[in-house]
């Protein structure tokens, strides 16, 4: 007898294949770390304010171990409550009524499953939550069966957890991954790469006390610091600071210098790849998670709205935009958490402010071009300061960061020093062969010295001729 319906059920192969194809292996592992952090948020949000507590993650940790046949991650972040495991945690996609009131990072309810299937064929998830201790098993033939459930095993001997937390062990690995990791140097390179990715993406979280270890080695944070002239005198090198609330989303933005502006010699070095501009650019953070790291593209305002494109002369410019919300869906991040959703209304509004801040510092750089020595008298008296401090109470008292309450948010625009000149300057640039520069350098300075740069030689030549011209010689 013919059916009067057509089968629209999804196939598991499709799900597994589609979910894992679009994500990078590193990002899949970061998703697992995000789950650990969300555990901390659920545990502690009632006692501590995540937005204000600078030690929010203290005492919590995650350990990742990677070998050529096994991947594991173990945390002490609270474990999965039994009813959550039975009804929600292992479903493919979040169930509507589980929407939280917590500032978590996870939104879609696919991170753990996606990561597991990206890395391996089978896995066990040990968890200890309150008095319960159990293990969820993902068998290697799961994708081929028609059953969507996973078996749960009580008090398995293999579950060695002593404090509330979760341990995920993935083995065997997918053949593409185990083939790659068979080679020890490939594996090392991967671990190094992952460490860097974690350092970039979790630097705020590590700063707030979370401990992450990979194969036994602790990953250090990479704090965002900007140059701030201490004291309350009006003029000085200080960052542009902005805060605002957009619906459920709280935004903090700071843009400034993390290092004095580049001199012409610095720029030459960068062009010859002797100095890296890795640290410059704007970092975007959503609920503590870095989703864009030191970006130098139009995503963060470079090259649009009157801001010049990123160029090596802007190597000293750095910024951070922090978005926080109890409703993570309102945050401007993509599902892979490795990028911003630039059509988000909040993001569009904040990008305007990024452009405004960037413009102040690109313009400052252009104004001082060719007068580095004079400029350094200002930038070297400014001290590296953690960006958090700019939003704290002492910002006003100790750094003179006084916010103006404006219709489109609270803004502090620093009074950046301006070059004092009666006669306008012009930059002179020319190139000569290294041998010739050396010859002139020896002639002028008597010896070859590493510290004598090509531009010093050029300037000294000019000054000598200028002297002669003035003295009629």
């Amino acid at each position: 007898m013919a059916n009067n319906t057509a089968n629209g059920q999804p196939t598991k192969e499709f799900f597994v294949e589609m979910l894992t194809r679009d994500i990078d292996l590193n990002d899949a592992i970061l998703d697992l770390l995000d789950n650990c952090l969300d555990g901390v948020v659920r545990l502690s949000s009632s006692q501590k304010n995540k937005l204000e507590d600078s030690n929010f993650y203290k005492g919590y940790s995650a350990e990742i171990n990677i070998s050529n046949n096994k991947f594991s991650i173990k945390d002490n972040c609270g474990g999965i409550p039994r009813d959550i495991a039975e009804n929600y945690a292992f479903r493919m996609g979040r169930v509507q009524e589980t929407d939280t009131d917590h500032p978590t990072i996870g939104i879609y309810g696919i991170g753990m499953k996606r990561a597991i299937f990206k890395i391996g064929k089978a896995a066990v998830v040990h968890t200890k939550s309150s008095q319960e201790k159990y293990t969820v098993i993902i068998p290697s033939d799961w994708a081929r069966s028609s059953d969507w459930t996973f078996p749960i095993e009580e008090n398995s001997e293999k579950n060695t957890l002593t404090s509330d937390g979760t341990e995920i062990i993935i083995s065997p690995l997918n053949s593409s991954i185990s083939d790659l990791w068979k080679n020890a140097s490939n594996l090392n390179a991967f671990v190094e790469n992952l460490r860097k990715a974690i350092q970039e993406s979790y630097s705020l979280i590590i700063q707030k006390g979370f401990c992450i270890k990979i194969n036994g080695h602790k990953v250090e944070g990479n704090p965002v610091e900007l140059l701030v002239k201490k004291g309350t005198d009006k003029e000085g090198v200080r960052p542009f600071v902005f805060t605002n609330q957009y619906g459920s989303v709280n935004v903090k933005l700071a843009i400034g210098f993390y290092a004095p502006m580049a001199s012409d010699d610095d720029i030459d070095k960068m062009n010859e790849s002797k100095r890296s501009s890795y640290d410059a650019g704007i970092t975007v953070v959503c609920n503590d998670r870095v989703v864009l790291y030191n970006d130098k593209s139009s995503l963060t305002g470079w090259g649009i709205a009157g801001v010049p494109n990123y160029h090596n002369q802007f190597i000293g410019i750095k910024g951070i935009a922090v978005f926080e919300s109890n409703n993570p869906k309102d945050l401007p991040m993509t599902t892979t958490k490795r990028g911003v959703d630039h059509s988000s209304a909040v993001y569009i509004a904040v990008k305007d402010k990024m452009c405004e801040g960037l413009k102040m510092f690109t313009n400052y750089t252009n104004q001082w071009k060719g007068r580095n020595e004079q400029e350094r008298t200002y930038s070297t008296v400014a001290e590296k300061t953690s960006f958090d401090d700019l939003f704290s109470e002492k910002a006003q008292k100790e750094y003179g960061v006084t916010m103006r309450h404006e219709a489109r948010g609270n803004t502090y625009r620093p009074a950046l020093p301006k070059p004092k000149i009666e006669k306008p300057y012009r930059v002179i640039r020319f190139s000569k062969s290294i041998d010739d520069i050396k010859t002139v350098s020896i002639h002028l300075y008597g010896d070859v010295d590493e510290k004598i740069t090509a531009s010093m030689v050029g300037e000294k030549c000019f000054d000598a001729i200028l002297d002669q011209s003035k003295n009629g010689g």
């Binding site: 619906g247 649009i304 709205a305 009157g306 909040v346 405004e356 413009k359 103006r404 404006e406």
Partner: protein, 322 residues
């Protein structure tokens, strides 16, 4: 660099008059008296004088980048309420503490070669402006400023379009063709580039519905062809109708980006003005003028139309002995 005596340019004079008229109309619906005026007054301050005298604005900033002209400007300020600042508009826009005070900003640019910087300043300005701020910008729209190819086998218009794209390529609308790079069309091309840039910068979101509402544009020539655009920042679209109603009688305020009014009045002698004005206003004036005064108006259509529209604002300059 010495500045030409702008106040002796009749078409510019009329253009300035149209602006002041427009401001005074706006004054009927918004409190424009408490705005601050920011402009390039040089050392003659023609716009400042008119805006202070007619609109009663008492907070005024004149930007002057040249340190020598700056000193001369300080010496020549006609009123105490004018503060001259020795700064480029780029520095002022990115560095100034703009706050919540409303502004009327006239970026009266003259140099065609710096159009890229001028567009970028304007873009930067859009992130700072408040609702009810008035933005006015003048560009040099002289098509020959785009240069001439060295190689005579290259098409002149194509070469000029490429030069324009080198300067502000990202803002040139996709349908601009080299046929539009002519004396007549180039000012409109520039207005369309401006529209493209500005509309791209004001993206409406639930948090920010501001936009730049165009009021009017003018093209005039006292030597070089210049194009001027004037618009107002509105909080959202709800006030458009109120504004349109207020301007019913000012025909040149057409709320369009790319339909500039042309101001091209020939230089007239006092005797000519007296005789011609006796025929105005009248419905048959155009016919009469083209018949009787063909020796005055060389390009009949535009010059006569222009004079009939703006005769009331036409200045007469006299030599005075102090």
């Amino acid at each position: 660099m010495s500045q030409p005596f702008y106040h002796l340019r009749p078409n510019k004079y009329v253009d300035r008059f149209l602006f002041v008229n427009c401001l005074s109309k706006l004054g009927e619906i918004i409190n424009i008296k408490s705005h601050r005026y920011i402009g390039f007054g040089s050392y003659l301050f023609d716009d400042f004088k008119q805006i202070h005298d007619k609109i009663n604005i008492t907070s005024m900033i004149s930007l002057e980048e040249d340190p020598i002209v700056y000193k001369r400007a300080c010496f020549n300020t006609p009123y105490k309420c004018i503060k001259v600042i020795n700064q480029t508009s780029t520095d002022f826009i990115s560095g100034g503490d703009w706050g919540n005070k409303n502004s009327i900003i006239w970026l009266d640019y003259t140099s065609p070669a710096e159009i890229s910087q001028q567009f970028s300043d304007l873009a930067a300005l859009t992130s700072i402006v408040n609702c009810n701020d008035i933005i006015r910008v003048t560009f040099n729209a002289n098509v020959s400023s785009l240069g001439v190819p060295d190689d005579s086998s290259i098409s002149l218009k194509g070469y000029r379009l490429n030069r324009l794209k080198e300067r502000i390529g990202e803002y040139v609308p996709i349908d601009v063709t080299e046929d539009q790079i002519t004396t007549k069309e180039y000012p409109i091309v520039l207005l369309r580039c401006l529209q493209k840039m500005i509309e791209g910068l004001f993206i409406e979101t639930p948090f920010d519905k501001r936009f730049l509402f165009p009021l009017f544009s003018t093209v005039y020539k006292d030597g070089q062809t210049m194009i001027t655009f004037t618009g107002i920042i509105l909080e959202d679209h709800t006030r458009e109708t109120v504004i349109k109603k207020a301007f019913r009688e000012l025909k040149y305020v057409n709320f369009k980006w790319d339909c500039p009014s042309s101001i091209s009045i020939p230089e007239l002698t006092v005797k000519e003005i007296v005789h011609i004005n006796k025929l105005l206003p009248s419905k048959i004036a155009k016919k009469q003028l083209s018949k009787k005064y063909s020796f005055v108006f060389s390009d009949k259509d535009t010059e006569i139309d222009s004079y009939i529209s703006y005769y009331k604002y036409y200045p007469s300059f006299q030599s005075v002995n102090f």
